[in-house]
Symmetry: D3
């Protein structure tokens, strides 16, 4: 069975990217108290590859995942791709269709289910703006990917 959605791993990841600056510390504490490890960061580009790379690099450097284990990298990679589906809503393309993103990202790892045998899962949340490569011609966008690890 699942723990309460009140402290879900996905909700935690989303709250980390949605938190305004004065809310961030409190949000971090709550996520830590729920037993999750996490990293957060920012990335902006017309090049999707750089977005994927920024998230992978942060998760590796901050030891959210073990970069020597492919199963962990594979879990993270598919969670990133799923989050990008939410950000791009149809075709996972940025510069190729003349748009750019400015995103905050979070990667959260932990045990979201009461049954310990369900083991660890990973959530990737993205929030920011997507639009033309001209300041202000953009609207908000978000995405969430979740995977077992």
């Amino acid at each position: 069975m699942k723990k309460s959605l009140e402290a879900g791993i996905g909700k935690s990841a989303l709250q980390l990217v949605l938190a305004n600056s004065h809310e961030l510390e409190e949000t971090k504490s709550r996520v830590s108290e729920a037993g999750f490890t996490y990293c957060i960061g920012k990335t902006g580009s017309m090049d999707m590859q750089k977005v994927v790379s920024a998230i992978e690099t942060a998760a590796k450097r901050q030891h959210i995942i073990d970069e020597k284990l492919y199963r962990e990298m594979h879990a993270l990679y598919h969670a990133i791709l799923e989050a990008l589906e939410g950000v791009t809503r149809g075709q996972v393309l940025l510069g190729d269709v003349l748009r750019t993103v400015g995103l905050r990202f979070s990667v959260v790892r932990g045990m979201p289910y009461e049954n310990e045998a369900e083991g660890e899962w990973i959530a990737v949340a993205l929030y920011g703006t997507i639009g033309a490569p001209i300041r202000g011609l953009e609207h908000e966008t978000t995405g969430l990917g979740i995977n077992h690890i």
Copy 2:
């Protein structure tokens, strides 16, 4: 130029679906104070059509959009479809691929840009669970669609 992301229309919509029960009233107040109108609701189904219908019906009944104007219905419809891309992450299918959703939804309408000429926009946020049609075999999912109205 855009208003601060602190009170973005997309963030408002996301906060309405992410709010835990004791946070909901405060969230609603904040969204109203930002000048947005909104409705919230719940829907769960293996049938995508019912999910689309539930959101459209709520937005019409609660007068977030004017159902007699196609341009408003069209704006809402594409925002719903974009949000569903985030929920389904690849193929906008539920029962056809043997999965079901239980979602909270919000529809938020208002003027998110400082320049009044940008007029009104609409945001549709979804948050909940997606998974097999067996209780507990599910994980969180989210989606956000934004459109000018």
Copy 3:
């Protein structure tokens, strides 16, 4: 080398579905003079299967393709699917996402290239409306699929 685009097989198919009633006879004559055979028809449904079926049935009944040859059915089928991508623009879904179509269709067959060795090709054109299952809440849509036969 290709014949002039002035009398392309795709343009012919599109003109057959775009022609207003007083233009239709002239359009038909032009398409026949270009050496193409064709059929036209109408179909409307929330059920994509019925749309595919209506086009296949018309093309078989009017002997545009030989229904006993799979290679001809296969050529037609993929041309229909490609045309439906243009009509649905992202996810080839109708009723599942609560929308319906009212379409005119044409299937055109012939030799569009000067080099006779290029043989026969088939074009499927669709034009009509797509929208909510409520009269008037709809806009125009089109699609074109082309395949060698």
Copy 4:
């Protein structure tokens, strides 16, 4: 309610890209008489970004849309993307899958519905060829995107 499809905004956009040279002036007159403003142009590339850019630039330069208003740019952008779905039929990719396009485009703006409250809409039509980057190894392709503005 919708005006007759005889003078639909989508049909107008399609006719502008389908018109042979001797038909173009008459087509332009008809579109103007229907109360629409429009621009037309040509673009060819293996790089999708250049296709999007060519259409956006033409629409801005010829004042079909107001480039300072994001809501207008947003309406145009999604109409372009929808038209590209019809052109690419599955994956919105050109050079990445070793194909190129040579396209005529039109952008048409105006009020396609009898009810004035429906306001302005925009249509983007594309017609031309898609194929290998070798002259003659190509077939026709089309796409139509429509949006409220």
Copy 5:
């Protein structure tokens, strides 16, 4: 590092669905000797849900996965969806676009990497025919999905 591709988990899954009847016992032995557990079966339908269900049911009944653990079901589910992408090649739809499949499937579980820390993975392979719901109007199709478990 990966074990030789000669005995890859994906190749094993593919060989199980490709084996002709007189080759099947030998193929099964080879897969078992490579240390993998597996199940095989057949499914045919215009209804994608039945295809997904048949594979899930076989994998549960034959104890390839533990149906009480969501992480195992989740791993299997995404591997099935990935395999279906190969079978459908573009839109994960069957009856909705008037086509049907007749498929052999295999689900293989085991440790495909030399590094034991990589743990268990799952492969789902599909092979059979796809086409119109008329005997003989069909061609072959295949798909492979792989996931960590």
Copy 6:
């Protein structure tokens, strides 16, 4: 009617890419005896265009298809794209989403149906690995595309 699946054109193409080195000659003989012509090769890249190009070039150089006939190139091209859907499982992207492939490919041509009027068909099979651009962080992948020629 179809020939036995035992010697299907798709199965032949798959067996050519799956064969271990000591099995390759026997597989080639079997495919030739079934009356098919074929070519095989290897390609690896983060750039999808190079993958498409490698397959097209091999098929042209080894005279599996006649590069001067667009209908043959068109048949091959769509078969390649369909095979790539199986390899990429959702979005036909490699480097853009920070992944790379190492693939064996085969292109097989011949008459797979008993009825000679069904004429020639083409099958493209791909098998290899997909993953991060780091050695070992990869899993197997496959794809099959079939088209009439």
